[in-house]
Amino acid sequence: MRYLVENAGYVGTLLAQHLWLTAVSLAIALAVALPVGLLAARRPRVRGGVLGVLGVIYTIPSLALFVLLIPFLGLGLRPAVLALVAYAQVILVRNITVGLLGVDPAAVEAARGMGMTSWQRFARVELPLAMPVILAGVRIAVLAIIGIGTIAAFINAGGLGVLLFTGVAQGHADKIIAGAAATSGLALAANALLRRVELAATALASGEGR
């Protein structure tokens, strides 16, 4: 633990890299997953195929996927972000689909009866009601990205995983413990924070927040 205190600046830089990697990957993953999830919710035949393919990608070990991307994208942030976006897809698309399918058809029908257009029904009725399930997906995706993101240090994408890899390479026990503490701390903090957001969205969706 002394390592963390004595090298606070360095650890801070790695933490910032890790957060940046997580934020970029999550933003791209969400931008892709929202239309795909919407399509999967509307078309049952698309759903099975899309979730099947994404499930297979999710099963590929991350270190193997990073390595397989090296011939095409080289080292660094780009292959790391691509792999993290791919892993987050299955979680996000599944939860967006399940969330939208779980919306009470009566609520959508009522909105139609009030004269809402299909876009208004989606943005003002379906999406808010599906939000708790979608946010649960975001939380799990963020945890997966943070966890797999530590392995991305192997292909020079930076982040807190650097402490773990260099610590083991140098046989520096304090550095390994610092790396494990920092990555676990980040994951546990992200989990706690996103849980709160999830609970707030659930309260809002059930009408308590208005």
Partner: protein
């Protein structure tokens, strides 16, 4: 590059099969020990309503910790080699098995258990003839999640001296030769997908049997 990878694998067949063997042994042993510890613990916790939330909170927290941290944290305490890798992978296998076992046994319909008691079954018969068959598909689903985690993370064992197919990835990286890395990466991906497919099949089979019973 695939051609170069195949050439390397053929030129180093003994090393390749040895690494693949270590990878499978390490993963299967970690899963087996994880199941032996966590299935009974899960059944026990499912019967203790007051204890369950605390145990599940600890295990849930453990599940959030990145696998690389769990694996590399073994080094300062246990050193390098097969044993630290085995211990770390076993810890990694535990959360999904425990969480699913607890949920499976808690989810058995109390009316079914009551009916079995009414038929004159004792506690042991209720467990083995009623609860176990009904809960097994969900337990196997947890083992399946754990298997994917363990087979994939066993690749990282190479970095802590545990051997396995990750050795080729580490060696290829050190020599700046992507072809050698593929010799590790492709079989690891195939192995993990295979383990997941086999356990998915077992799960479906058990689900059908539980429904028929």
């Amino acid at each position: 590059m695939l051609h170069a990878a195949l050439q390397y694998a053929l030129a180093n067949q003994a090393a390749f099969w040895h690494a693949a063997g270590v990878h499978v042994r390490l993963s299967v042993a970690a899963l087996a020990i994880g199941c032996l510890l966590c299935v009974p613990l899960g059944v026990y916790v499912a019967r203790r309503r007051l204890l369950a939330p605390q145990v599940l909170a600890v295990v849930g927290g453990l599940r959030v910790v990145p696998s690389l941290a769990i694996l590399f944290l073994a080094v300062p305490y246990l050193g390098l080699g097969f044993l630290p890798a085995l211990v770390a992978l076993t810890i990694l296998a535990c959360p999904p098995v425990l969480i699913n076992t607890e949920a499976a046994f808690r989810g058995v319909d109390p009316a079914v258990v009551e009916a079995a008691r009414g038929m004159g079954m004792d506690a042991r018969q209720v467990l083995w003839r009623v609860e176990v068959p009904l809960a097994t598909p969900v337990v196997v689903a947890g083992v399946r999640t754990a298997a994917v985690d363990v087979f994939a993370s066993a690749t990282l064992a190479a970095f802590i001296g545990g051997g396995g197919l990750g050795d080729f990835i580490a060696r290829g990286f050190a020599l700046f030769d992507p072809a050698i890395m593929l010799v590790g990466a492709i079989p690891v991906a195939v192995l993990t997908l295979g383990a997941e497919a086999v356990l998915a099949g077992v799960q479906r089979l058990l689900e059908r049997r539980a429904q028929a019973a």
